[in-house]
Amino acid sequence: MPPKKLNHDFAPKKIKIKKDSKIKLKKKKKKKSSTSNAAAVNGTENRGVDSEWWILFWDKNSPIPGSMVPQDEEEGFKYFFRVSKKTFEYICSLVREDLISRPPSGLINIEGRLLSVEKQVAIALRRLASGESQVSVGASFGVGQSTVSQVTWRFIEAMEERGRHHLKWPDHDNLQKIKSEFEKSFNLPNCCGAIDATHIVMTLPAVQTSDDWCDQVKNYSMLVQGIVDDKSRFLDIVTGWPGGMTIPKLLKFSGFYKLCESGERLNGNPRLLSDDLDIREFIVGGANYPLLPWLITPYSESDEMPGFNTVHEAARSLAVRAFSQLKGSWRILNKVMWRPDKQKLPSIIVVCCLLHNIIIDCGDCIKPDVSLSCHHDLGYVEQWCKQVDPVGRKMRDNLAKHLENNK
């Protein structure tokens, strides 16, 4: 079905008609009515759900032979914005109060009309999803680079504030569900999640103050650490630390570590298994993490218990998958950012994580071709952490025995 041309000239025409109808009225009356009508039109346009932008966008960016863009409109929407139209509406409802354009701070397009919330959200999502330049994103929406910059940042600020409930450590009931899923899938009792970290690469000016952001492969980068559940949904995020920091240090600086060490997290009842083994709540992490009572890492090749590492890696891959999906869906994180504001970058990262969770929470599926085809932290070699806690070692042995006994 060819898209209808409901262009932006519609509203101004409407105003003109109204104005013309008032010609015969007295001067003062006309003055009043034209003002209020203009406001009313703007108000309706600004408050109501705007679908015009998509018709225009789809018309402008419709699939051409040989392009990656799906022919189906719904699929095309997901291709450009990573979310279904339903989820898009939900996101708009979250940020509507913050993004609704109000003069004088309200953003306007070239024609001088206020940008609708829908169009603002679409611009921001497209910028995050594609990672394309602001100029390029602006061109696809008929707005300037500056508008893309402002709209994206306003969206990020609003989401950071309004979407927090989509990223929090689960309550008792939800944690039980997660644990039971881990046990069902991997036969790991009391496992609450998987942890991993990745680098967000950027360019920085070649000055001494940038040195701390230089990582082991001589990139300037920022670290993100995430703990995910059985659906690869983020439960905990830490970001903002320089890429040069080691993973054990990153963990140690995190609030999650402090809470676990003080017994305020992963403090549920231990599981007493049939073979008299005691398993406390824990998460799984890669070899670059320290082995702790609540963080189980794989065995080294020399002392591996048969089969344990395979199961462990399968569980841990949930976190690896989450980061591949994250960087694949929100390509801004996978591209080398050009001199980003290091104060703002953590917000961008967290909002991408929030969007990742919202997609899962709203029942949208992330298509396999959206995820990165390679590892999320390509070029970075996992450095084996030699830190081993004796209680952690005992825990890992118990888990290995449990897996061995329940083959």
Partner: protein, 253 residues
């Protein structure tokens, strides 16, 4: 009796110092003829002398501690060379009243700066320890921390990382908050203008200038009306617009 006694001691003094024992000596002649015979006594510094002249002693003290400028002439000194200081000294103010500076006119290592420097050394050691570290300000988002976002100073020396609090740390004020504040400010400004506008309607017959002001406000109101419309609803808008309209109509007349 008294005069004889006084002459006696004077004679004795003159004799001991090699002065001629006469009441009518030609001092100029004496000095020019036999300077080598004069041995003025090396009087030790008298503390009470300085106590008696506090202003002099303070100025001496200050001149010991600081370069007082070329014009400064201490009253209690005659030997300028001895007071010259080779380099300026740090003045440590002490609240301890006993910690007086030596009144000696001779420049000597003063105990006060040395005593105070013990703390200074500690600070320098800290500074030295930190100077080995590079310093980076970081903004971190950690969802396990209730406030999510915080700022820290990160000290790094190779693989050693230390955390510090950001000096003069203020709440992170986001652009969003600023915008909200601006919006509120704008609303308030409009309210004020609106009050002015409605008040002026009472005195609308005061002349042409008054009318101009009202019209100017009305022009601005076109810009602001949408703010009010969105924030207070249609009813309120209609109520608000009525007096303005009246004002306009009166001005038009």
């Amino acid at each position: 009796m008294l005069s004889s006694k006084s002459s006696n001691w004077l004679h004795r003094l003159r004799a001991s110092r090699g002065f001629p024992d006469s009441d009518h000596i030609d001092l100029d002649h004496f000095l020019s003829s036999s300077p080598h015979q004069i041995h003025p006594p090396k009087t030790p510094p008298l503390p009470h002398h300085h106590k008696s002249n506090d202003n002099g002693s303070i100025s001496d003290l200050l001149s010991d501690l600081f370069h007082m400028g070329a014009d400064f002439q201490p009253k209690s000194r005659t030997k300028k060379a001895s007071r010259k200081q080779h380099c300026s000294k740090i003045c440590h103010l002490s609240t301890n009243s006993d910690a007086r500076v030596s009144p000696s006119p001779l420049p000597s290592p003063l105990p006060l700066p040395l005593a105070a420097s013990s703390n200074h050394v500690v600070e320098e050691e800290d500074a030295k320890a930190l100077s080995a570290y590079s310093q980076t300000e970081v903004t971190v988002i950690d969802t396990s921390v209730p406030c999510w976002k915080f700022e820290k100073v990160l000290y790094r020396s190779k693989n050693v990382w230390k955390l510090g609090e950001k000096k003069g740390k203020a709440l992170i004020t986001t652009d969003r908050n600023k915008r909200l504040m601006n919006d509120n400010l704008h609303k308030n400004k409009f309210k004020k203008k609106f009050k002015l506008c409605t008040n002026s309607s009472k005195f609308n017959n005061q002349g042409h200038d008054q009318g101009k002001m009202v019209v100017a406000n009305e022009k601005k109101r076109d810009h602001c009306s949408q703010v009010r419309e969105k924030s207070f609803g249609k009813k309120q808008k209609e109520e608000d617009s009525t007096p303005l309209f009246k004002v306009l109509s009166k001005v038009g007349k």
